[in-house]
């Protein structure tokens, strides 16, 4: 039986000016069908594989190499990945949406199969045999019955071009025969990283390179009054104090000189109100005009709710979150006349090169963008902006320039995960069944990736103009619909024009916030119905994979059926909560169970254990998937328990690790993972799905422990105490 979202694709349908699904956004570029764009056999037999995607710290470089090695029948160590270089790799848009495996992985799998087949045809001709007499092992094609007759890939193709198209028609290897895919192959980048060998963008040094730091206005609305160049006269090594519009950078010979000069440079700004008042944030969001999109509309909601035996209504709140990459953004640019080389840790080398071309008023062909790894970014941090800072300053001095943001630059200027409001109405019949479900989310676009110069901070500071109005809003719809087969349901996204603070992609886009609301509300209904939270969810799930992922997690913790909350009034109480989601409603499936301890007096929540059951179809690298799940769980727990990006009307007040604390080692719970491998199902991404369920599982566990419902992130001791006292008042 199909679930509501699968039998009607209405919410994924095209809407005017707005892409219908996450699949399209990240796969923006037309994918090349030229075999030579993907695979090259070098003279020494090395296989070079080209991917337009980039390594954002997830280990995907290794997973892609596994796919190539498997399909081409070569040893893994013979595959060299080249990623994200506009002069060498295909355009695959952005590395985003957990789509590198399904996108680039599929393209490379097909290209590798095509290359293997092409070489088999060549070998058959050369050896005078038919195709089915041949077999391939480790890049050597042999006549099966006369193994002394063989030819290597290097003999056939070394250094030559295939000049073929990827037809997607040649036979692929059967997953049952896999020897490399499915293994926990160690990451190829880690030996370098544990040894301190250079490799990050921060480590790059090009000949003649100068250093720069930026002097930013106190907020995006402030305007420059004056710069006193004389104030840094005593600092040696100053090459240039560059100012245009509200953009200021200092370029020096040595890095510490740039740091000193940026601190010391006297600049006067005319201050202005730039941010909403924190206390009015959610009202300000909701008071905007909206553009509404009804994603699910099944049955007559009004009538069903009016006839329900019991009616419920809850509102959930999500603050701004910072990506808070552990290393601030950095880039190196070399602008020589009209030729530009940029090294950047951008997730979108091709789109960014377009924005930089516009910024410099040059043809995009003149921009050579080379990706280098940065610190983990989880979406869009300052990587694109700092690349723009570097090209402007390199152009100004005519030499290569390295720019590194400060910790404070990163906190203030990186785009945030947007604040959102979610509201749900529900009705139960006399037996406690859901007879009506009405979901609303108010959210700005989660995606404002830089395709235009004006979308970069640099562009805005240079021109004095705010970011151009986005043509589409995207991301708030992610996981707004559930996979539950409620008989009557409606899901509405109220798209907001203004995010109030600069916002762009953060792991899962709206998926985490929507799942927090959906999975909290179904828990509220289960409790009202007096039914066990796990059992209640299973009532509305028919698909075997959905049921299995929940049942697997439950089995792992030895789930004991009981209606929440537990009736325990002691000062230190424990509880267990569950949450389920299928990412984007048709991708990986996740069930998360959290076990918490709540100190009623202090309001402190200690998460002791989190268990995740995870089904992302065929698993390419089990340890790589586990690593992603652990990371998703710990990062999303940090966001749920601690993180709230703060500001007043003129200043950001979350500017360092003390004012924006994240989870520490002492606060990290045990995380246990059960992987469900499905070799017969497509491999889907694991970079985000396990991020969406954590907050709800913890909120549900807090409810189970205390009977208090917490509906606003983060779950700080103050909020827990408030929820506990509210509960006593009732």
């Amino acid at each position: 039986m199909a679930t509501p979202n699968q039998d009607s694709n209405s919410w994924r349908g095209p809407r005017t000016g707005r892409p219908g699904s996450g699949r399209r956004e990240a796969a923006w570029g037309e994918v090349s069908d030229r075999l030579d764009d993907w695979i090259a056999i070098e003279k020494d037999g090395t296989v070079t594989a080209f991917s337009g995607k980039v390594e954002l710290g997830t280990g995907v470089r290794t997973a892609l190499a596994q796919i190539v090695a498997e399909e081409l029948e070569v040893p893994l160590e013979r595959v060299r990945m080249v990623m994200g270089d506009t002069a060498r790799t295909p355009d695959e848009g952005y590395t985003a949406g957990s789509m590198t495996i399904s996108g680039s992985g599929t393209a490379l799998r097909n290209a590798s199969a095509e290359a293997r087949y092409a070489m088999l045809v060549m070998a058959a001709e050369q050896l005078g045999v038919t195709l089915d007499e041949l077999m391939v092992r480790d890049g050597v094609i042999v006549v099966a019955r006369r193994p002394e007759r063989s030819v290597t890939y290097a003999d056939l193709m070394g250094g030559k071009a295939f000049n073929l198209q990827v037809t997607n028609k040649v036979p692929l290897k059967s997953p049952g025969d896999y020897r490399i895919v499915g293994n926990s192959t160690p990451r190829e980048d880690l030996p370098r990283k544990v040894s301190g060998r250079p490799g990050f963008i921060h480590d790059l040094k090009v000949p003649g390179m100068l250093h720069a730091r930026l002097v930013r206005p106190p907020n995006p609305a402030a305007k420059l009054i004056s710069v006193d160049e004389g104030s840094v006269k005593d600092i040696p090594g100053i090459v240039k104090v560059f100012q245009r519009g509200n953009f200021i950078g200092v370029v020096t010979e040595r890095e510490e000189q740039a740091i000193q000069a940026a601190k010391q440079l006297k600049v006067q700004w005319q201050d202005a109100v730039a941010y909403p008042r924190m206390e009015d944030l959610f009202t300000a969001l909701r008071n905007q005009p909206t553009e509404d999109s009804v994603l699910v509309d099944k049955g007559d909601f009004k009538e069903a709710l009016a006839n329900a035996a019991k009616q419920f209504h809850s509102t959930y709140y999500q603050p701004f979150h910072a990506h808070a990459s552990i290393g601030p953004s950095c880039a190196v640019a070399d602008v020589k006349g009209d030729q530009v080389t940029v090294w950047a840790s951008t997730p979108g080398p091709y789109p960014l090169s377009g924005a930089l071309a516009q910024l410099l008023n040059l043809p995009v062909e003149n921009i050579h963008l080379i990706f280098m790894e940065g610190a983990g970014s989880y979406g869009q941090n300052g990587a694109d902006d700092v690349a723009a800072d570097a090209v402007i300053l390199s152009q100004a001095v005519g030499k290569p320039v390295r720019v590194q943001w400060t910790r404070q630059d990163e906190f203030i200027w990186e785009p945030k995960s947007p604040a959102m409001v979610m509201e749900v109405y529900g009705g139960l019949d006399s037996k406690g069944n859901v007879v009506a479900w009405d979901y609303h989310v108010w959210s700005p676009s989660h995606v404002a990736r830089a395709r235009l110069a004006g979308q970069l901070v640099t562009g805005q500071l240079l021109s004095g103009q705010p970011a151009p109005q986005s043509r589409f809003s995207f991301g708030a719809e992610r996981n707004a619909p559930t996979n539950y087969a409620f008989p009557v349901q409606r899901v509405t996204v109220h798209y907001l024009r203004d995010s109030l603070l600069r916002a762009s992609s953060f792991r899962s886009l709206g998926g985490a916030e929507n799942t927090f609301a959906n999975e909290s509300f179904i828990d509220e209904l289960a409790a009202a119905a007096g039914v066990d939270a796990l059992e209640y969810r299973l009532r509305y799930l028919a698909e075997p994979r959905e049921r299995e992922v929940l049942e697997t997690a439950a089995k792992k913790v030895n789930w004991k059926s009981h209606p929440a909350p537990r009736k325990d009034s002691s000062p230190l109480v424990e509880g267990r909560g569950v949450a389920f989601a299928r990412y984007e409603n048709d991708q990986a499936l996740v069930a998360c169970i959290a076990e918490v301890q709540v100190d009623r007096e202090s309001g402190v929540v200690r998460v002791k254990r989190i268990v995740v059951a995870h089904d992302c179809g065929l698993i390419i690298n089990p340890d790589g998937v586990k690593n992603q799940i652990e990371g998703n769980v710990i990062q999303s727990l940090s966001r749920a328990l601690k993180e709230e990006y703060k500001f007043n009307e003129t200043r950001v007040t979350s500017i360092d690790w003390e004012t924006y604390p994240i989870l520490t080692f002492s606060e990290v719970p045990d995380v246990e993972i059960v992987l469900i491998n499905r070799p017969d199902q497509p491999a889907v991404g694991a970079g985000e799905p396990a991020t969406v369920t954590t907050a709800a599982a913890v909120a549900n566990a807090i409810f189970d422990a205390t009977g208090a419902r917490i509906r606003q992130l983060p779950f700080t001791p103050e909020r827990i105490k408030a929820a506990l006292s509210e509960q006593q008042d009732h």
Partner: protein, 159 residues
């Protein structure tokens, strides 16, 4: 303003030109091209820039190079002996204890210092030792497993 400063880094004497108040981190990275220690916050709050001074793990992002004196500095690169990874580095590889790996330097340096001082730490001691090292990717559990493995490798080596 630039002084000639002598440093002992990874067992070798180095003479560098730097203003005395230059933080050690920039001298290590830009003058000695040792890219193990990373810039994270510049405020001694995250641990990405850690090095060992003697047997102690310290942050190098604010420490003026002129204050280092004759202390022996060991960076991540310096843990490698005759091409052999240090047991702590091996343990981090064995456990695949990283995602982006930007914080790895501080994690490994802190672990090496912890196990030097406390060869058999409790779970609580491990967590407390690492509390000053931030990881944004969520590799904490793997890192703690790597510390436990390093403990075993080191005691095997000590025989």
């Amino acid at each position: 303003m630039s002084d000639e400063i002598v440093l002992i880094v990874n067992g070798k004497l180095h003479t560098v030109q730097a203003a005395p108040d230059t933080p050690l981190l920039y001298v290590l990275r830009n003058e000695l091209r040792l890219m193990g220690p990373h810039f994270g916050c510049g405020e001694e709050k995250c641990g990405a820039c850690m090095v060992m001074v003697g047997a102690k793990a310290i942050q190098s992002c604010k420490l003026p190079v002129s204050e280092v004196g004759k202390s022996r500095i060991t960076t991540l690169e310096g843990l490698i002996e005759e091409g052999e990874l240090h047991p702590v580095q091996r343990a981090f590889l064995d456990e695949q204890a990283a995602q982006c790996g930007y914080c790895l330097n501080g994690m490994i340096i802190t672990t090496a210092a912890l196990l030097w001082k406390t060869p058999h730490p409790s779970d609580k001691q491990i967590r407390e030792a690492l509390d000053g090292n931030l990881c944004r990717c969520g590799s904490h559990l793997r890192i703690m497993r790597a510390v436990k493995r390093a403990e075993v490798l080191l005691s095997e080596e000590a025989g």
